[in-house]
């Protein structure tokens, strides 16, 4: 049964076949990604239910409550400082996480990419080892390191470097340490991929043309591995912004990030429209920052 003709005919009906072939993926995307998003967007403009859930009445209350709050007694309207400071803290911590992971990730990726080809696989394997354990467990492990009677403070007091334990746990610093640890591999791997393709002879060319070490880094290496820097930053920044477990465990109840705040609305807060509005807003913040970031980073390519 040889049917070479049909095989040759296939490209002609590619248009229809292409759609049919990608139908499973498309359906999955619509059902599993766009569908839930749509539900979230719709819930954000509905009225909140008595205990939880929503009532199917159109209402701007959810979005209103993102930015403003009403006094329970005299109904005066004021800016929701608490909400805004949570947003601001999330953005601040995410940017800091991105910068710190880049600071640690660049030398790490450089180190791996400059090893002999045989041992690179081993180093990359080490980078992925943390993924083998549940995020929650790893976060508790960090907690064990930084808590007042933890490894770090015991060590420092033992050697007389400090007299009182440093309060790290339940501060923004703790959240930052936790997120840097968790997201570091997401920075290292794309940086490694970019440095791996980098032609190291260009460094000699730079030195030969009177560029100092710093000038070679700024003028040759960083512009060429920029796709890796952009990818790594996006991979770290976006999940940082929506982080839930790390700020929940290491930040305690006080130092919430957007993720925890959203969870609060669907749980104790029993305000689903507000939660939905916050989620939608988070999505928009991510989208806008992505657009701005890619615009800016592709722009300074031209004046090299």
């Amino acid at each position: 049964m040889s049917r070479p003709e049909t095989g040759r005919k296939a490209p002609r009906s590619k248009g229809v076949d292409g759609w049919l072939l990608s139908a499973p993926a498309l359906i999955l995307l619509i059902v599993a990604a766009s569908g839930p998003l749509l539900i979230v967007a719709i819930y954000s403009v509905l009225e909140k239910g008595d205990y939880s859930g929503v009532r199917w009445i159109l209402s701007g209350e959810g979005w209103f409550r993102v930015l403003f709050e009403r006094d329970i007694f005299d109904q005066t309207i004021s800016l929701a400082d608490a909400n805004l400071s949570i947003f601001w803290r999330s953005i601040k911590l995410s940017i800091a996480t991105t910068i710190i992971t880049f600071g640690f990730g660049l030398p790490t990726a450089w180190f791996i990419a400059t090893r002999p080809a045989r041992s690179r696989a081993f180093w990359l394997f080490l980078i992925t080892v943390p993924f083998w354990t549940n995020l929650l467990i790893r976060t508790f492990a960090i907690m064990e390191v930084i808590r007042n009677q933890g490894i770090l403070n015991t060590f420092l007091t033992h050697f007389g470097l400090i007299s009182e334990p440093i309060q790290i746990l339940y501060t923004d610093t703790a959240v930052l340490i936790g997120m840097t640890y968790v997201y570091l591999p997401l920075m290292v791997l794309p940086l490694y991929a970019a440095i791996d393709r980098f032609d190291f002879r260009l460094i000699e060319a730079g030195y030969d043309l009177y560029a100092s070490r710093w000038q070679v880094l700024r003028g040759v290496i960083l512009p060429i591995i920029k796709p890796g820097i952009v990818a790594g930053s996006i991979l770290v920044f976006i999940p940082s912004l929506g982080a839930y477990v790390t700020p929940r465990v290491l930040g305690g109840g006080k130092n919430m990030m957007i993720g925890n705040f959203i969870e609060l609305q669907f749980g104790q807060g029993q305000n689903w429209p507000l939660g939905a509005a916050l989620s939608t807003l988070l999505l928009l913040v991510v989208l806008v920052s992505l657009i701005v970031y890619t615009r800016v980073s592709s722009k300074d390519n031209t004046n090299g």
Binding site: D199, R201, L202, E204, A205, G206, Y207, D208, L209, Y210, A211, S212, Q215, G219, V220, P223, I224, N301, G304
Partner: protein, 351 residues
């Protein structure tokens, strides 16, 4: 201090690693390269010529000896402080920069004003005939054009010495010939000292003012192309540059008796005992008449302008003769012929 010397390398050695695994890339090389000279380091791969070049550029630090540039010791200066630029074998053009930005890179890094950089870039691009490509990216250029950009980039900062690391090896034959004359022209126009590294003996002979032949980390002979070709001092140089027949013999009565028992009146300078004669194929003539020696033709290869005959002498040693194809007499394999050697042109090497 001789002010005509651009690069003066004194007893330069480079050993990689240590202990039992140590590899000697350069033994003990001393060389003086004059200002404005087109100097070629010639040798097979692994002979140390690139290591020597990299020591001059500053990418390697010699493990012994010193390198002086116009009388100043630069042995331990980092590459970015040496007025020396390199044209890399791989070109190593910056892929994210345009041709003009690549060419202007060195001047910009040295802190030249933007207007001066732009002016220099225009001038150098005109020199290599790439004015119309200033705003292209390197990957939009052909190999030959990229080569010119690499050349322009290294020339733009007006270095005292330009180092060229096998820059033509990636080009096809026709382009290579073009670039050879282009390089000669650029060197004449700029007056910069060129140090050119190649394993191609023909390239070295046609382009250089002087050649240094290297082998196994040692500099064997330095001289003009004529010196190197006509008066090789070692068997390696005679063999590496052009084709050479070697005949063993020993000195007797101011002549050399070779394996066949014949005596050759070669020019001797006091050599005694066993010697090796280096005989170029064009110094051997073949006749159907009686001559000094005789032999049998075992191979005849027509090469266009020339025909190469391999002749087996009486004692069995082979001798290659190159005869111009236009010459009237032609021979076939198996013919017994008379062989004459232009004894005055024979080079005597100590065995």
């Amino acid at each position: 201090m001789n002010t005509d010397i651009a690069i003066d390398a004194r007893n330069v050695g480079k050993i990689y690693g240590s202990g039992a695994g140590a590899v000697t890339a350069l033994g003990d090389v001393s060389i003086s390269i004059k200002k404005g000279e087109f100097f070629t380091l010639l040798g097979p791969s692994g002979c140390g010529k690139t290591t020597l070049l990299r020591c001059i550029a500053g990418f390697e630090t010699p493990t012994k000896g010193s390198i002086h540039l116009s009388g100043t010791d630069i042995t331990y200066d980092p590459p970015y402080q040496r007025p020396v630029n390199t044209v890399f074998q791989s070109y190593a053009l910056f892929p994210h920069l345009t041709v003009a930005q690549n060419v202007g890179f060195g001047l910009k890094m040295r802190g030249a004003a933007a207007a001066d950089v732009a002016q220099a870039v225009d001038r150098v691009l005109a020199l290599v005939k790439l004015e119309d490509f200033a705003n292209r990216l390197p990957q939009q250029l052909s190999g030959g054009q990229q080569q010119r950009v690499a050349l322009a980039r290294a020339l733009a900062p007006e270095p005292q010495v330009l180092l060229l690391d096998e820059p033509l090896s990636a080009l096809d034959l026709k382009l290579r010939k073009e670039m050879q004359s282009e390089l000669k022209r650029l060197q004449a126009e700029t007056g910069i000292t060129f140090i050119f590294v190649t394993h191609d003996q023909e390239e070295a002979l046609t382009m250089s003012d002087r050649i240094g032949v290297m082998s196994a980390g040692a500099l064997l002979q330095v001289g003009t192309p004529h010196d190197i070709y006509d008066r090789p001092t070692t068997r390696f140089v005679a063999d590496f540059i052009g084709e050479t027949n070697f005949l063993e013999g020993s000195v007797e009565d101011h002549q050399v008796r070779i394996g066949t028992g014949d005596l050759l009146a070669v020019p001797l300078e006091g050599e005694t005992g066993p010697v090796t004669l280096a005989i170029r194929p064009e110094q051997v003539s073949v006749t159907s008449a009686q001559a000094d020696m005789s032999g049998k033709i075992t191979d005849a290869t027509y090469m266009g302008t020339d025909t190469h005959y391999t002749i087996e002498l009486k004692d069995g040693s082979p001798l290659v003769a190159r005869i111009q194809s236009k010459s009237t007499a032609t021979f076939d394999v198996g013919d017994t012929v008379g062989v004459a050697i232009d004894a005055r042109a024979v080079q005597v090497l100590k065995s």
